[in-house]
């Protein structure tokens, strides 16, 4: 069952003349790589890198992780942050207890551990469907912070129960600077985006979508629904585990179990819905929204000079109101999420190029 899309070579001026659409795709990918590894590192200041770009990219990756589960396989999770926590705490303990393990191996193993945990909490999906499934992932969301705070072993018996980033280095290159951390995040993200595209365009991804759209029909077609659902939890949690490591070590530097709380899970859910379900790049728009809105609101407060009117608590609450209202507004006005903007943009570009 190979679709036409799959038989088109991914890159290079291959055998046949590639169509305009493929050229456009290749062009966009190349442009993305140039921006991510050429323009951003040379133009962005340290402040932009460490306070805006890194969190946006990592949260976008978290959005992709949940989108694989929710947008493509149609399964619900309210506990994404718990799997991020599993990844971060696994990585911390791997580095601590297995000396000399290179960074890529740490990331990979942390992702795999999170994947195993994800499969375990996905087991109820074999019996129940729909929103009720949220119960088990919500359970994970409360269980893991409890586990990591209740047993100080996980944070190496540190008094504050926090885990601090190890020295980030790869092949002798120091990745501690904002630029180094950005390059780490960007490289991992680029690889995972590639993996995500491979997955959703593979047989696995197509079968997820078949299950999502009509489960009965999918099982009649011979798709092994139970196995595919657990694989969805595994892949999604693998991504989330790695995302958790990046969030804790490359963005924050120091994390504890409450870094990965329910609010974070809800933020990831917002990213998916605002960015657009069953998209890859839409997640970064959603993430930009989640990261930038509070910063913008801060600036608005400063610019409007209303800080003197009331205390900081009141302003935080006002921001909460505005944030909630914007979310409702986007849900109402843009049912397909902000990725509809991308689609319109690409459509316009394609029309301009005369296909």
């Amino acid at each position: 069952m190979t679709t036409i899309q799959d038989s088109i070579p991914e890159a290079g001026p291959a055998e046949a003349l590639p169509s305009g659409a493929t050229l456009l795709q290749i062009g966009l990918v190349a442009a993305g790589l140039v921006i991510a590894f050429g323009l951003v590192p040379s133009l962005a200041s340290d402040y932009w890198l460490s306070s805006i770009i890194i969190p946006t990219v990592v949260m976008g990756l978290a959005g992709i992780s949940l989108n694989l589960l929710q947008g493509y396989a149609g399964l619900v999770s309210l506990g994404s942050a718990a799997f991020m926590a599993v990844g971060a705490f696994s990585a911390y303990n791997l580095i601590l207890r297995v000396p000399g393990l290179p960074l890529p191996a740490v990331l990979l193993l942390a992702g795999l551990i999170a994947a195993v945990v994800g499969v375990f909490f996905g087991l109820p999906a074999l019996r129940i469907k729909g929103f009720y499934l949220a119960a088990s992932t919500l359970g994970a969301q409360f269980f893991f912070p409890w586990l990591f705070t209740n047993y100080p072993w996980f944070s190496n018996n540190s008094q504050s129960l926090t885990i601090s980033a190890p020295r980030l280095e790869f092949l002798g290159y120091d990745l501690q600077s904002p630029l180094g951390r950005y390059l780490l995040v960007a490289t991992v993200t680029a690889l995972l985006i590639g993996l995500a595209f491979l997955v959703v365009r593979s047989r696995l991804g197509r079968e997820w979508m078949a299950i999502r759209d009509m489960e009965t029909a999918a099982s009649v077609l011979g798709i092994r629904v139970a196995r595919r659902k657990l694989q969805a939890y595994a892949v999604s949690s693998f991504f989330l585990g790695i995302t958790g490591v990046l969030w804790g070590f490359a963005y924050l530097g120091t994390a504890d179990a409450h870094t990965y709380n329910l609010d974070k899970s809800f933020q990831i859910l917002f990213i998916v819905l605002i960015g657009g379900t069953a998209t890859i790049f839409g997640n970064f728009l959603g993430a930009a929204f989640i990261v930038l809105t509070p910063i913008l609101l801060d600036h608005v407060v400063l610019a409007a000079n209303i800080a003197y009117l009331s205390d900081q608590g009141a302003i935080t609450n006002l921001q909460r109101v505005i944030f909630g209202a914007i979310i409702i507004f986007i849900l109402i006005k843009e049912p397909d999420g902000l990725s509809a903007w991308i689609r319109r943009g690409v459509g316009a570009l394609r029309a301009r190029l005369g296909r």
Binding site: Q70, I128, Y132, A135, W146, N150, I332, P335
Partner: protein, 293 residues
């Protein structure tokens, strides 16, 4: 044994509160299929408005009437600004919208009324008294009676009044209900108003026990396991589910807690709910089948 019973009773009381919040969910879920995350924020809003009014000298009934009025206004606004534009959208989108709504409600409540913890005195003594070796607070007894009365009133309203019958028709088959002329927006406004008043009662009882503060809003999170155990569409189920969750949580804390060196009450309810889902997916009293594989 007495320790066991006292823990059980304390757990049951907490469970009653879970149940009270869950009733609000059930009402809204039945009428509109929305899992209303903002129910906890509504509990908080109602309690905060009530306590502020009382602190400014309003007497109990005036404050109760004014707060109920505000909850009705909130319901009308929610129907017009959130539910109507999102009609026919998938349940997850509606859930996320109520999550946004909860930000708006508890943000607005704290923006206008402040973030202080308020003590709320309903004039009911909260001192444990000795009943044959068991210490039970008079407050617990009164609170239980209030909840029983509330459930009875809701039961009568839904089985005897025209509005209640329309609501059940909508819950049963929305399309058929619309086709015989039941106006959905009206039903939604009424149901959200009733859920708002239920939230007020829950907020008063819980606020009197632990002070009116933001944490009231978080009780929402316990509602999901309560509803899974009791069934999403049954009001008595919500109460029974609440009691089961409250009691088993309290008991697990004293018997299971020492084994794992810590309190298990943050996550125990969810594990219990998943266990229930696997055995009895529709919940104890649910009539709507939960899809299962």
């Amino acid at each position: 044994m007495a320790y066991f019973l006292e823990t059980l009773i304390a757990g049951l009381f907490a469970g009653l509160m879970y149940g009270l919040v869950a009733i609000g969910f059930v009402l809204i879920y039945k009428a509109s299929g929305v899992f209303n995350f903002a129910q906890g924020a509504m509990v908080f809003l109602a309690a905060l408005v009530f306590v502020t009014l009382v602190e400014h000298g309003a007497n109990f009934w005036v404050a109760f009437a004014l707060t109920s009025g505000l909850m009705v206004l909130t319901a009308v606004a929610v129907e017009a600004l959130v539910l109507r534009p999102l009609r026919n959208r998938d349940p997850l989108t509606l859930f996320m919208a109520t999550l946004g709504l909860s930000f708006v409600i508890d943000g607005a409540a704290q923006f206008f009324l402040g973030t202080d913890v308020h003590m709320l005195d309903l004039g009911i003594d909260d001192i444990a008294e000795d009943y044959g070796g068991l210490f039970i607070s008079w407050f617990d007894i009164v609170a239980s009676l209030i909840v029983v009365a509330l459930v009875a009133v809701l039961g009568i309203v839904f089985s005897r009044t025209r509005m209640g019958v329309s609501l059940r028709a909508v819950a049963d088959d929305t399309l058929a209900a619309q086709s015989i002329g039941i106006r959905l927006p009206v039903i939604w406004r009424i149901v959200w108003s009733v859920a708002g008043v239920v939230a007020l009662v829950a907020g008063l009882l819980w606020g009197a026990r632990q002070g009116v503060q933001f944490s009231l809003s978080l009780v929402t999170l316990k509602a999901l396991p309560v509803l899974i155990i009791g069934g999403f569409s049954s009001i008595p189920g919500a109460i029974v589910g609440g009691l089961i969750v409250g009691a088993s949580e309290a008991l697990a804390d004293i018997y299971l807690g020492p084994l794992v060196d810590g309190s298990v009450s943050t996550w125990f309810a969810y594990i219990l709910a998943v266990a229930f889902l696997l055995v009895r997916p529709a919940g104890l009293f649910g009539d709507r089948d939960i899809e299962r594989v």
